[in-house]
């Protein structure tokens, strides 16, 4: 009897201490990183958190990207935190130019179906998070990136406010970025025998507005819904992309083909994103869906599923499946017939009807010296219309959207201290 009472007493004490610990873990959910740092890692004695990662993205017979990313976050007292970010990537290999695969004339340079290129890009960023009140948080961010021919700078602000015992968080955010391209650009949609090349600096501005809500649905279930509206204006043509002009009957390319593509100079887009994190036994299921549409006529659906399953206390496995499907932009054309004079036209594969399927697996390991090491491998396949309806004559026999196959290999390490 005494033993039973003692055990009951221990159980009650144990429950009370667990409850006390959990009270300290009342999570402000708007900012995942903030929540992670303050609560998951018990931050006061570990004000730093460093994340490093390297990725290799390789397309079969096309480009290879090598990318390194670094983040360091420092708690500044109990009310604020500063994050510094840096990224370096190098890209090399062959990329489709947009021209038809069957070249029936001996054109000048630039008419090849694929073009080789090489570029490097550096990017830096900073985030400053601070509490506006016990239930409200502000995050300010700044970014800059540059490569040989382009630059981008941006600023952003996000406010998150907790309600309902921190079970509900409303988020409002806005960001502004300016991209510039400095290079020689050929007159758009103009035959090569009359087009001129201008050395110029073209600019694009983009404003993004965000409204979001995060809701605790249950002890192990979290829902996030975001609506993002974007408005881009300025130069959005890809100066590296071309479009073939062919004989309207035979499909043979013309001697003054191809032309430089041209896209509209405004683009309004909306993205509705929903994510559910759900604890399933000892694992976690992450599921998300995104609907995207814009004024270029593109509509896209994205479904993403991950399941994290612990294998031991220090090891977990996380399979991943992603499916993406998009419709074509209104001005997408696989080629133009001679005599056509569209206002806008692009043969960039990324603007046509396509589907991307990705499957991968990640392993996470917590070594004895601390932190977490992750290794991830994924395979990605992208398919589109191999024989689109607007193909003409001999071009109908060609595969105008060869399957894109790529692998992603990524190693990361995270350590709070």
């Amino acid at each position: 009897m005494q033993l039973t009472k003692k055990r009951k007493g221990e159980t009650v004490r144990s429950l009370l201490s667990a409850a006390s610990a959990s009270l300290l873990l009342a999570v402000p959910l708007a900012n995942a990183e903030d929540a992670h740092q303050h609560h998951a890692e018990g931050a006061p004695d570990q004000p730093w958190r460093v994340d490093v990662g390297t990725m290799r993205y390789s397309e079969k017979d096309r480009i290879t990207v090598s990318e390194q990313n670094f983040r360091a976050r420092r708690e500044l007292g109990e009310e604020s935190a500063l994050t510094l970010r840096a990224d370096y990537d190098s890209v090399s290999g062959a990329s489709p130019t947009g021209t038809t695969k069957i070249q029936t004339t001996s054109g000048a340079s630039g008419t090849a179906y694929m073009a080789h290129f090489q570029t490097v890009r550096n990017a830096v960023g900073v985030d400053w998070e601070t509490s506006l009140s016990p239930d409200a948080h502000l995050t300010l961010s700044g970014d800059h990136s540059s490569s040989k021919m382009s630059k981008s700078s941006g600023i952003g602000a996000t406010v998150a406010r907790d309600f309902n015992q921190r079970n509900t968080t409303l988020v409002a955010g806005a960001s502004y970025s300016v991209d510039t391209i400095d290079m020689d650009i050929m007159t758009e949609l103009t035959p090569s025998d009359t087009a001129t090349i201008r050395a110029t600096s073209e600019k694009k501005d983009q404003i993004d507005l965000q409204l979001g809500v995060t809701q605790v649905l249950a002890r192990g279930t979290l829902l996030q819904v975001n609506f993002i509206h974007s408005h881009a204006s300025g130069y959005m043509t890809n100066p590296h992309k071309l479009i073939s002009v062919v004989n309207a009957l035979t499909g043979e390319t013309l001697t003054n083909s191809p032309l430089a593509e041209k896209r509209p100079d405004t683009r309004y887009s909306n993205a509705l994103y929903a994510q559910i994190n759900h604890a399933l036994g000892s694992g976690v299921l992450y599921s998300s869906y995104r609907y995207f549409q814009d004024t270029w006529g593109i509509k896209a659906h994205t479904v993403d599923l991950k399941y994290r399953q612990p294998i031991t206390e220090s090891l977990y496995v996380q399979p991943h499946v992603r499916v993406y499907a998009q419709g074509a932009a209104d001005f997408y054309r696989s080629m133009l017939a001679v005599g056509e004079t569209p206002v806008y036209a692009s043969a960039d594969h990324r603007l046509t009807k396509l589907q991307t399927n990705s499957i991968g697996v990640k392993l996470g390991y917590k070594p004895a010296f601390g932190g977490e090491l992750t290794v991830r491998a994924e395979v990605l396949r992208q398919n589109g219309e191999q024989h689109p309806q607007d193909a003409i004559g001999v071009q109908r026999t060609a595969d105008l959207f060869p399957e894109l196959e790529a692998t992603i290999f990524h190693i990361g390490y995270t350590k709070p201290f």
């Binding site: 873990l25 961010s141 382009s150 960001s175 993004d208 979290l222 995104r290 991830r376």
Partner: protein, 78 residues
């Protein structure tokens, strides 16, 4: 096609699984019941580097973009 159907089924299972727990959402989760939500793996973005790399890859290969938040800068590319 089979792949898409399989994925749709998985989404339905995931959604239903979430819905079964929504009944208890009628009552607010108390602060002392949030030990599970406070875990690293339950955060909205458990792995920032993975998130960053994926957004870079898909931004450069697909027309749709964004949805998870604002800011982060562009790439200067079209």
């Amino acid at each position: 096609m089979v792949f898409r159907k399989l994925l749709a089924c998985l989404m339905v299972v995931g959604t239903l699984s979430g819905c079964t727990t929504m009944q208890s959402a009628m009552q607010s989760v108390q602060p002392w019941e949030k030990n599970q939500l406070a875990k690293e793996e339950m955060q909205l973005v458990p792995d920032r580097i993975e998130e960053f790399f994926d957004s870079r890859v898909y931004f450069s290969r697909e027309a749709a973009f964004g949805g998870k938040g604002v800011g982060g800068g562009g790439c200067g590319c079209n």
